[in-house]
């Protein structure tokens, strides 16, 4: 279906080609997963299939790419639109019309399908993707997961033979990601669609793949073969390699069947490993509050009152928390984004905020740095009220790395950015640059922040925020678009920061990251805290938020491969 013959792609200014000599054949009806570290040309390869490379991006493509027998050199993307459907990394940049139903029909209208056919396919696709409820909704009002499904639906309606997806689940919470992947699997099984997708979060997708293509080597093989040698792999594979399981399990289910012997070896050992010291030194975490939000009215109000009372009493004998949030509520227009949030974070503690898209995680973080004023309740960061504190003073107390790190970067070179950061924080010149050199070795002064990779940009933003050395560090969705190596580096940095006494709060969908870093997990649903407790307890009991290792080794409380390795 897709054939690459000795394909190389080079962009104008680069000295090295992005892709070099790729030869591959993807047969019809396969789900092929592209894996590899950042910057090896996964997006370029995907773009070459849809013809956007080189027709739209520029650069030179040598060799030959054919899709369903059509050569992309002679067919521009619009002439391939009936065989290839493409969804890019950002679904909101994909939409042309403003309502769900029109969006689904747009591609078919361009191809000139008959009205009766369009009508039938729109109905089918609405059902296939579970979008029937949303058909009249304006796209601007949809959540991230819904948008992703609409974007996929909009390229499905012309019945393309090939579907190309670039990181379809990176912005989604675990359950929304599962929905999207289930749809893809259904397409492959029921309609024989060929799917080519790139994804960093392998723990979510590898079990769905028929074949895996490893870049930059360009080798393709069965998932088990490739995962045995791949430098990027999900925790289940890492555990399998560690335990020496043969053949390598790719799903939690396979791994659990083999895990009996390993569980026996781990029996009786303390599942604390590396984090034990930190976890013990951290102050005792609060119990889960809100009791799941089941009890309405009177009962709930009374419970809240009691809680308040209890906490007042215990506070006197624990050290004052760095972050103190009490009965916080935030309203935006008529929407109550946050309700009755109570949260305390002490120095040296790492807390993961989890919850589905739109639950209020980002709103909470914005409130903590004073970007949003609370409607009621109190927020204190090191004794200060964030939204009334002068920004210049506040950045020495609390720093936030936003979801889009680019928002923080204004200058046109790394050096200028660092100089500005020193001036902003009032620190000695060179402070920020020293941090950058430490966190991000080998980045030249003159590099434009835009030319950095996703992970490098995040690290630069982190360095800029750390220049004021705030005791409280907040990160919003820090691992979006990061490969495993960049993620591992981030984890190392954050751990050493926590060891230095920084308190860290991170909002994330990445359960593996939470498992590796957090002492405590706070789950937010619908603007309320529904669970707050030690990571192992909260995460192991929840099917959506538990990491792969916890699922495999349940009921034992192991969270990461690292812990298991330490214990063996």
């Amino acid at each position: 279906m897709i054939r690459f013959e000795n394909v190389s792609v080079r962009y104008e200014d680069d000295t090295e080609p992005t892709l070099r000599g790729v030869d591959l054949t993807v047969p019809e009806g396969e789900l092929v997963l592209l894996v590899g570290p950042s910057g090896v040309g996964k997006s370029t390869l995907l773009g070459a299939v849809s013809g956007l490379v080189p027709h739209f991006t520029g650069g030179t493509l040598t060799g030959r790419v054919t899709v369903d027998g059509r050569d992309t050199r002679t067919h521009p993307p619009r002439e391939l639109a009936d065989v290839v459907g493409t969804v890019g990394q950002d679904p909101s940049a994909h939409f042309v019309t403003d309502t769900v139903e029109d969006e689904l029909a747009y591609g078919m209208e361009s191809l000139g399908l008959a009205p009766a056919v369009m009508r039938r396919r729109v109905e089918e696709t609405l059902d296939l993707l579970g979008l029937a409820e949303l058909r009249d909704r304006p796209i601007a009002t949809l959540s991230g997961g819904q948008r992703q499904r609409v974007a996929i639906g909009s390229v499905l309606t012309p019945h393309p033979k090939v579907l190309v997806l670039d990181e379809p689940t990176s912005a989604l919470d675990p359950s929304a990601a599962e929905d999207v992947l289930a749809v893809l699997q259904r397409l492959v099984h029921d309609l024989g669609t060929t799917v080519l997708l790139a994804e960093h979060r392998l723990e979510r997708v590898v079990q769905y793949a028929d074949q895996v293509l490893l870049l930059p080597e360009g080798v393709m093989g069965s998932p088990a073969e490739i995962m045995a040698v791949s430098p990027v792999h999900p925790p289940v594979v890492a555990l399998g390699r560690l335990a020496g399981w043969e053949p390598l399990p790719l799903t939690v289910r396979d791994a659990r069947r083999r895990a009996g012997e390993l569980k026996g070896r781990l029996e009786g050992r303390d599942p604390a490993g590396l984090l034990a010291g930190l976890r013990d030194s951290a102050p005792p975490a609060f119990e889960a509050r809100g009791s799941g939000g089941g009890a309405p009215g009177f009962g709930k109000g009374r419970g809240g009152g009691l809680n308040l009372f209890k906490r007042r009493r215990t506070e006197s004998d624990t050290p004052t928390p760095l972050l103190h949030v009490e009965a916080l509520a935030v309203r935006r227009g008529r929407v109550e984004a946050l309700r009755r949030i109570d949260l305390q974070v002490h120095a040296g503690e790492t807390v993961a905020l989890m919850g589905r898209n739109g639950a209020g995680k980002s709103t909470l973080l914005s409130t903590l740095v004073g970007m949003i004023a609370p409607t009621s309740g109190t927020v204190r960061v090191a004794g200060r009220v964030p939204h009334t504190t002068a920004p210049g003073e506040l950045i020495r107390q609390v720093g936030l790395v936003p979801q889009e790190p680019r928002d923080l970067l204004y200058a046109d070179s790394v050096a200028a950015e660092c100089a500005a950061a020193d001036a902003d924080a009032g620190t000695a010149p060179g402070t920020c640059r020293a941090l950058v050199s430490e966190l991000l070795p080998g980045v030249a002064d003159g590099t434009h922040p835009r030319d950095l990779s996703e992970g490098q940009r995040l690290t630069l933003a982190l360095a800029v925020v750390l220049t004021g050395s705030p005791p409280l560090l907040l990160l919003d969705e820090p691992t979006r678009g990061l490969d495993y190596a960049a993620k591992a580096r981030l984890v190392t940095h954050l751990r050493s920061l926590a060891a230095d006494g920084h308190a860290i709060v991170l909002a994330t969908h990445d359960v593996e990251l939470a498992a590796e870093l957090a002492h405590r997990v706070v789950i937010i649903a619908d603007g309320e805290v529904v669970a707050d407790g030690p990571t192992a307890e909260v995460v192991v009991s929840s099917p959506a938020f538990s990491p792969q290792v916890a699922k495999i080794l349940a009921p034992q409380h192991w969270l990461t491969v690292e812990q298991v390795e330490e214990a063996l």
Binding site: E109, R119, P391, L400
Partner: protein, 373 residues
Amino acid sequence: MIQKTGPGLSTFAAPEASRANALHAGAWWLWALGLAVAASRTTNPLLLGLLVGVAGYVVAARRTDAPWARSYGAFVKLGLFVVFLRVVFSLLLGSPIPGTHELFTLPEVPLPDWAQGVRIGGRVTAEQLVFALYDGAKLATLLICVGAANALANPARLLKSLPGALYEVGVAVVVAMTFAPNMVADVARLRTARRLRGRPTGGVRAVLQIGLPVLEGALERSIAVAASMDARGYGRTALVPASVRRTTNVLTLGGLLGVCAGSYGLLAAEGAGYGLPLLGAGLLAAMAGLRLGGRRTVRTRYRPDRWGPRAWLVAGSGVAVAVLMIWANAYAPEALHPGVVPLEAPELPLWPAVSILVGLLPAFVAPAPKENA
């Protein structure tokens, strides 16, 4: 049990709005333009107020909670601003309206001789203020009528009624228009993000510093949308024989020339004889050209809005208001233009007021949006 499905009263009640019975966007625009024409025919503040009330009531009864439906408030504010501006200008620059009721005198700026006829400051009379108010209210009502159409009709749906040859241009325009709100959102986001760097979020410097990143972001987004549109078949063309293409060009160009010459003939003193036929022929040729040009595009339309009886009623009610008001100018000109010199209190003339109320019809016949919070 057989349910009775005879034509009871409920058959005529407005159905719940859905995609299938959506009112043609053109009907809403005709209705709003009818109200606007009516507004342009009167300066009576009571009648203008009635028009605004009618438009507002229909918007309140029939708008959805889609993003474009929220623009009505903005148009009302714009209208009030226009009234305010008109009065301020009248205060400062004076007015040619002669008046006897002097209210107060502003200090007058002495101007050199060559600026004769221009006055800044000076005497302010009640007549002049009332005239400015009436005039401003007329403009504001026009704006509010346009705002009502904007809130009631999805702009993208209007596109679907364009001839095929113009559709692609229309899509480009609509996509381009969505960038304004996106850029506003970007500016807001980046301004608050400045707080994270410890910089003040307000002031001119803040705007200047985020200007470049905002423009960069907008540019990147437009490239991404263009790539997506291309990959989804935007701009696919069908092969048409060279003869058809040539005929299209000749018809369109010739038609437009005919329209120009015809309009000139109509306006010029001596050419009234051939003006009208030339204009008609030009229009016909241009339309034939557009239609033929539509053959080059392969696109089809998904569920275009149908022009049903309800659309006729909505559009008809607007046109009726316009026609009745024009007619009212013939039988009651004084009531429609209350005197300014000498000052007199405006009255509400019965029949013109009743004819404006005809514009309320859409609030009863147009499909009602779903009740959801």
